[in-house]
Symmetry: C2
Subunit: 413 residues, 2 copies
């Protein structure tokens, strides 16, 4: 299958810069996973002539058109009308869609207004793509070998619609099934990852192996293609194992949402508890760990000790230690990690101290230098990072380093 696709986002609010077109990212990633080539993305306002022009241009160039937005109940929602016309179809009432919308309002205990019923008019002969996350149904129409799929605009609806409606619909077109897994890597740059796996990856055609660099991490996407999902999944497994073997411990997880979530999982599995003592990251480590549902199983709490006096008074860091090594030092980071464990009575503690701001720093430690330490069951390890490209970036990089140390040490237990 070597199909091509285009994405058209419909919405004046995108043209005005009021919202970011994140739906395009959602759809593009899905197309990419499916092995469908996308050559254009377009954004057009709630204007029927310009939308028609866009759809007709896309229909000439691509096999598949995906639209996002313009399916709602108000009069500026006109994607269905314009798309149906461009594909030579009429809009007809879908009883199935209507029932679903009525049910939605019943469940909320609200009366359905007439304009909501408008959403149940769909192009004749279309495939209904049920929307379980909002009121506006999606649909797919075909004409002369060309396919148009319409998805709702709000990301909360678009994201699941892509995953549970669009992807299965497009997979049916193909005689093969795709399965994709993400291998998450921290602590090795993209070019090093590439060079290490190149001899092995270059000869591979199925599954494919593609690297993406993002936020100080590398993601390797392994995509297998086969007759069934099970077979497709099966051929990715030896590749994942091989990559893990080659790269070793820099692989922090497969199909995991983040480094801190991976660290959290190891702690939860081993029934280990965690606390934090942060200076320059100012609560970021605590914030990240508490973003995870169920974090209270593992996380007891943290102290953000921004001033030296607080480090001493609340965490018992000796003023002489600060004086001898400087407050931004490996020694103080390690003392903070140990103090967290003691103060909170946890198995693990994270300690962070540094100069997050690029304009701060001293002779020994320029702005962007952060020391990170982890104490686990009495043993303390530490690390230094340097990220002078901005305050928030340095904080975020330091938190990643802390969670990576924590994950690595906890795995050894």
């Amino acid at each position: 299958m070597s199909l091509s696709a285009e994405i058209i986002a419909v919405g004046t609010e995108i043209l005005l810069g009021e919202i970011t077109n994140t739906d395009a990212v959602t759809v593009a990633q899905a197309l990419s996973e499916l092995g469908i080539n996308a050559y254009y993305q377009t954004v057009v306002g709630d204007n029927p002539e310009r939308l028609r022009e866009c759809i007709l241009a896309a229909k000439k160039r691509a096999d598949i058109i995906i639209t996002t937005g313009g399916l709602g109940p108000t009069f500026d929602d006109l994607t269905k009308q314009v798309a149906a016309e461009a594909f030579g179809k009429k809009l007809v009432l879908s009883e199935e869609a209507l029932k679903k919308i009525e049910g939605y309002f019943e469940q909320l205990g609200r009366k359905m207004t007439d304009n909501n019923a408008r959403q149940a008019y769909l192009p004749e002969g279309c495939t209904l793509l049920e929307n379980d996350w909002g009121t506006a149904p999606g649909c797919a129409i075909e004409d002369g070998g060309k396919i148009l799929i319409m998805l709702p605009g709000p990301p909360r609806e678009c994201i699941p619609m892509v995953k549970y409606r669009m992807m299965p619909y497009l997979q049916k077109l193909s005689d093969s099934q795709l399965v994709s897994h993400g291998i998450h890597i921290y602590g090795m740059g993209e070019s090093e990852v590439e060079s290490k796996i190149s001899s092995f990856a270059e000869t591979m055609e199925n599954p494919t192996l593609a690297p993406y660099a993002k936020d100080g991490e590398v993601l390797l996407r392994v995509t297998g293609k086969a007759q069934t999902e099970k077979e497709a999944d099966a051929i990715t497994r030896p590749v994942i194992a091989k990559v893990e073997e080659i790269l070793g411990d820099v692989v922090y997880g497969v199909d995991v949402p983040s480094l801190h979530a991976a660290a959290f999982e190891v702690l939860r599995e081993k029934k280990l508890t965690l606390s934090t003592a942060e200076s320059c990251t100012g609560g970021l480590c605590a914030k990240l760990i508490t973003d995870i549902p169920g974090s209270s199983e593992v996380f007891f709490g943290g102290i953000c000790a921004y001033q030296n006096e607080i480090k001493t008074r609340l965490l018992g860091i000796a003023p002489s230690l600060i004086e001898e090594h400087g407050v931004v030092s490996r020694e103080v980071a390690e003392a903070l990690a140990r103090a967290a464990c003691e103060k909170f009575g946890t198995d693990a503690g994270i300690g962070v101290t540094g100069y997050a701001d690029p304009s701060s720093g001293d002779e020994k430690n320029p702005g962007g230098t952060v020391y990170v330490a982890v104490t686990l069951c009495g043993k303390t390890v530490s690390s230094k990072i340097y990220q002078p490209r901005g305050r928030e970036l340095a904080k975020s990089r330091a938190a990643q380093e802390a969670f990576n140390l924590l994950r690595r040490e906890a795995r050894k237990l």
Copy 2:
């Protein structure tokens, strides 16, 4: 001036869904401020034929084309070549641009490679748009009344290039100058803001007043147009004053980056110090305040007390208080705020307790309920929020509420 513009983003990584096209938002907002209508946005890969097609289509439809991306030193950076050709120009070496690039490398103490010199080749007769934030210069070319402006893709370069190069360039085309200010509002919904200012705003033509809703806040953008910047600014001032008079204390600032930055500024001005005692927000308030450069002037530190036992042991919250009112209660939030002040010895303290996760909660307080309190110079105020649409959203909404209480109370002193 009623010009029209189109935005073309060049980059295969956007088509693959690897990065979000945030440059389009930056450019679109700027065009919107300038009163230039944008009818289309396009994304195209690093492919000369398709890029040429996009530029030619845009040239037919619009007066102004803005491209982002594809100006770098590598061979897949081809925006300049293709755009120059589409506008009937040759690329010639710009000595000015070359000097600038050489200077950039000299400053870094690195040797400039030959491919970097490629970036100094610009379309003949173009206006150089100097890039002080990276190596690839931007430029503007004109042909038959049509204008094409090329900007670098990395947001760290694109954002300042839009503000300091593109906007002044486009303003020169106009015989009038625009000045825009943002009035930031928290604690009142968009529709209420609109209805309150409608009688006053509807008759207005210059300046214009446009509302935007975002992340629980409303932004009112006031844009004045006049012969000079000074005059344009002057006519916005009475409008800002009038809006502040009508809306009162829900206006938290004009041209300020965020609610927590506004709260921080009031504290800094009045030389007040701050600490935090957070439960469900898990360090988010501390994280936000420490994102602000210079935060150590105001912020002493915080305790994230995730477990009840920690609330008692580290912050002295009486177990009887927790038992009587429940840990998620106004009383415990207020006790936390007071405890922060005492523990850290600060003038102000933030206390937060709640059920951030939608799936958590009890009979009295469903998931998404958070109590927020602020103690300032001995006086404690508190507030309750309900945001059941997600863990991170509830945390973020609670932090906003805390900083708003803090700002409001500190202003009274």
